[in-house]
């Protein structure tokens, strides 16, 4: 114990763990964005809105189940599925007709969709702050390294993050749909020519990506106040993470999220008023030296 404290003062260690829990949320959301950007090449601005919808759905579902432990677990499963349904409708209804258009059009279309989602959330849930209770199992603190208080819920987040990363890696690299989607990312026409319905492959990939946004929203809901506008900063952060990690690369998203989460939490120690400047500065440094991201991008 003393050795660890000698290297890292408790204050720094505490901030590292705070940063790591933030990293988990950022990673889950941005890995979905990265998947969509890598395979479908849609810069999906509406991804942030889906994250917000996930958080609001988690609120509603947990309320239906009485707000207790059962509510939390139901929300954790139900909210991502709900978001997946919403995204399926958006993909089949709108995006699938525009894959051939240039990026700018796609980006503006997804921005239009995010505006629509934002107002729909306002209509359905209203503009008040919502809060989702932390389940009893995860209430309270654990004491790391003999005396460093750390919320149990955040510990739970630290476990979820790697699980999602590995699951996503398995889906993309080991399943048939993952292999097809990677092939379709490289050469869409060729995959179509061997008799695969590329349109539906894209829809499935899109839905998986958005499901992750919903999961991120459901996971973050107990730690923050769920409110309108929570999508605005997150989507920019997610985009930057995807870019510095390498487009379409899951491990890149993890690396990017780590950089973003840690520079933010440690930056607050250095300069509390402008702590949030550090992750953006880190992104600029990365892009200046590695213009196409730290790891290999898919396109």
């Amino acid at each position: 114990m003393d050795l660890i404290y000698a290297i890292l003062p408790p204050k720094v260690l505490a901030q590292i763990f705070v940063g790591l829990s933030r990293t988990t949320i950022l990673f889950i959301v941005s890995s979905g964005l990265s998947l969509i950007l890598g395979v479908l090449r849609i810069p999906n601005v509406a991804h942030g809105s889906l994250y917000m919808i996930g958080a609001f759905m988690a609120f509603t579902i947990s309320k239906i189940f009485g707000g207790g432990d059962a509510g939390f677990w139901a929300a954790l499963v139900g909210a991502p599925l709900g978001v997946a349904l919403v995204s399926l409708a958006a993909e089949r209804g709108l995006f699938q007709y525009l894959y051939e258009r240039e990026h700018l059009m796609l980006l503006l279309l997804t921005f239009a969709v995010s505006l629509i989602f934002g107002d729909l959330v306002k209509i359905v849930w209203g503009a008040e702050y919502k809060s989702v209770p932390v389940p009893h199992v995860f209430q309270g603190y654990v004491y790391l390294f003999g005396g460093l208080p750390f919320p149990i819920y955040n510990l739970f987040l630290l476990i979820i993050g790697p699980i999602v990363a590995v699951a996503l890696w398995l889906i993309v690299n080991k399943t048939k749909i993952g292999k097809i989607s990677r092939a379709a990312a490289v050469d869409r026409e060729m995959v179509g020519a061997v008799g695969i319905n590329v349109s539906w492959v894209f829809a499935i990939v899109f839905v998986i990506g958005c499901l992750l946004a919903g999961l991120g929203g459901a996971l973050v809901a107990p730690t923050v106040s769920v409110t309108l506008g929570m999508d605005h900063t997150l989507i920019i952060e997610a985009f930057l993470i995807v870019i510095i990690g390498g487009l379409g690369n899951i491990w890149g998203a993890l690396l990017g999220a780590l950089i973003f989460g840690l520079t933010q939490s440690l930056g607050i120690l250095v300069w509390s008023q402008f702590g949030i400047v550090f992750p953006y500065a880190a992104v600029i440094v990365v892009l200046l030296f590695r213009p196409t991201g730290l790891l290999k991008s898919t396109w």
């Binding site: 279309l109 930057l240 402008f274 892009l287």
Partner: protein
């Protein structure tokens, strides 16, 4: 008539339009003058974006930063220093142009989506600094009740000032686009590799375009200070940037006056819709989706297409 106007002939019609604009304060109530001033300066902002986005093919996704920088530059000189107010109207745009130079110089080595993301990152940095630096910029409250020279304090005069400055800037930007530099810029948009081959310095042209666009966005920001007397950090937020993109798209990318028309439509519609419902974003989103699907060249682009048969549309190449 319309055809003459769009093709750059028909000066007499344009003169009539301008004279009509100058006479408006005699017939319109104060609120509509304010609205018209906002439309003019937002149109100027959108036109300056279109200079790099439509004509330059550069993914300038965070244009609002230059607008906000110009506004804050002007507002800070007006409130914190005893300098002549007229100097502030020059300093604002120059701050934006300098920011355009710095951000452009950093970003220009990347292209397309990477350029856009680096720019959004840098722009967000500027936004955070403005948002958090309470003692200097007023933080999230912004700065209110900015003292203006007496001559600009009446709404009629503010309107005239906005109108004159906007017209001068539009004329200047039109000249830029029609100049050899403007032609080179459009050439770079359509085929950067070939332009590089025939000896055009692609990066330098693009950088210059970014600085010019930043400057005029700064002018629009300064005009906002004149018309509204306030500045606030949302002027630098990325959602505004995409809204300006939407204005360009709605009016028409590849037309000079399209962005002005787009700004007019969106601001007029926003004012109208807001009196009935708070769900303006919903209306804007649906409108945008419809435009992207059915009018990809924008309103003015569509009209031009109808007027001149055989009009060849330029395409932004991937």
């Amino acid at each position: 008539m319309l055809r003459d106007m769009l093709e750059g002939r028909g000066r007499i019609w344009w003169a009539a339009v301008v004279i009509f604009m100058f006479l408006l304060p005699f017939i319109l109530p104060r609120f509509y003058l304010y609205l018209l001033s906002i439309i003019l300066l937002t149109g100027l902002l959108a036109t300056s974006l279109n200079l790099v986005l439509g004509y330059g093919g550069i993914f300038q996704f965070h244009h609002a930063v230059f607008y906000g920088a110009g506004a804050y530059g002007t507002a800070l000189i007006l409130t914190k220093t005893g300098l002549s107010p007229w100097i502030s109207f020059i300093v604002g745009p120059l701050v934006s142009a300098a920011l355009g130079l710095i951000m452009g110089w950093i970003c220009i080595r990347l292209s397309k989506l990477y350029f856009a993301m680096l720019q959004i990152s840098l722009g967000s940095l500027v936004w955070i600094i403005v948002y958090r630096w309470y003692s200097f910029t007023g933080g999230d409250d912004g700065i209110h009740g900015i003292p203006l020279p007496d001559i600009l304090s009446s709404s009629n005069n503010a309107y005239y000032f906005t109108l004159v400055v906007t017209l001068i800037c539009l004329f200047a930007m039109y000249k830029v686009i029609k100049s050899p530099f403007g032609s080179a810029l459009q050439g770079i948009r359509d085929n950067p590799v070939r332009c590089e081959m025939i000896g055009i310095n692609v990066k330098r042209h693009q950088l210059l375009a970014l600085i010019i666009a930043g400057f005029f966005a700064g002018v629009a920001g300064s005009l906002f200070v004149v018309v509204d007397n306030t500045v606030f950090p949302d002027m630098l937020f990325w959602t505004l940037s995409l809204e300006i993109c939407i204005m360009c798209l709605l009016g028409g990318w590849f037309t000079f006056l399209g962005p002005m028309l787009g700004a007019a439509i969106i601001i007029a519609l926003r004012t109208f819709v807001s009196t009935y419902t708070t769900y303006w974003a919903l209306v804007l989103g649906i409108l945008m989706a419809l435009v992207i699907f059915f009018l990809p060249n924008g309103v003015l682009g569509y009209i031009e297409e109808k007027i001149k048969k055989g009009f060849i549309e330029p395409v932004i190449k991937e």
